[in-house]
Symmetry: C2
Subunit: 122 residues, 2 copies
Amino acid sequence: MAHQPFIKTRQTEKTVNGISTQVVCTEFSNYIFIVLTQYGKIGTLVSVTPDARCSDISTPMFTTKVLLGKDEALTHVYAKNIATFVSQEAGNRPVLLGLALKDCSAENMKTLKDMIKSCQVW
Amino acid sequence: MAHQPFIKTRQTEKTVNGISTQVVCTEFSNYIFIVLTQYGKIGTLVSVTPDARCSDISTPMFTTKVLLGKDEALTHVYAKNIATFVSQEAGNRPVLLGLALKDCSAENMKTLKDMIKSCQVW
């Protein structure tokens, strides 16, 4: 990746449960940057960082930190839920996630994650 | 802008003083997101927010905050230097700036700002 001249970025748009939803994914060498927005805003910015792995624990743990916006408990839950698979697929890279969702219901989460998958830059 | 279906993003690359330099600019309704990188990294993430204007002060003031990475005094100086014109041109929108520069010398600053100008998304 170090030899690619450009920074890889992809985006998609979809109407999810009646709400226009945009996803932008950009790959940096030390972070995958993802914005998932239903307001056009960057929203709450959360870093999702995999913890150093213990060899005897197969499930990696993640530390979430709200960098910008309201620091609410649910934001950490959503951020982990959304970003874990990206981090794992991207060789345990941290994810910087902007979340501006009107509807965070569980049934939408799969669709939102599928949108992110369709913008795979890692 | 609210009616544009997609999130506007532009990028460019240039060799500045022998160093491969990438710029990515993305427009969100509440932030202009800019990464200026010579490492492929997102770098130090700084928010540059215009203060509420006093009617008798013609020069706007900016508050800078390091959200991610080392909080060094010079980072605030560079961030203000680089992001002020973007914020002003973008109707006083705050700028979220990722800085990963090897060479921050004054003579490069103009070139770096010109690169950002060439990626105008606001």
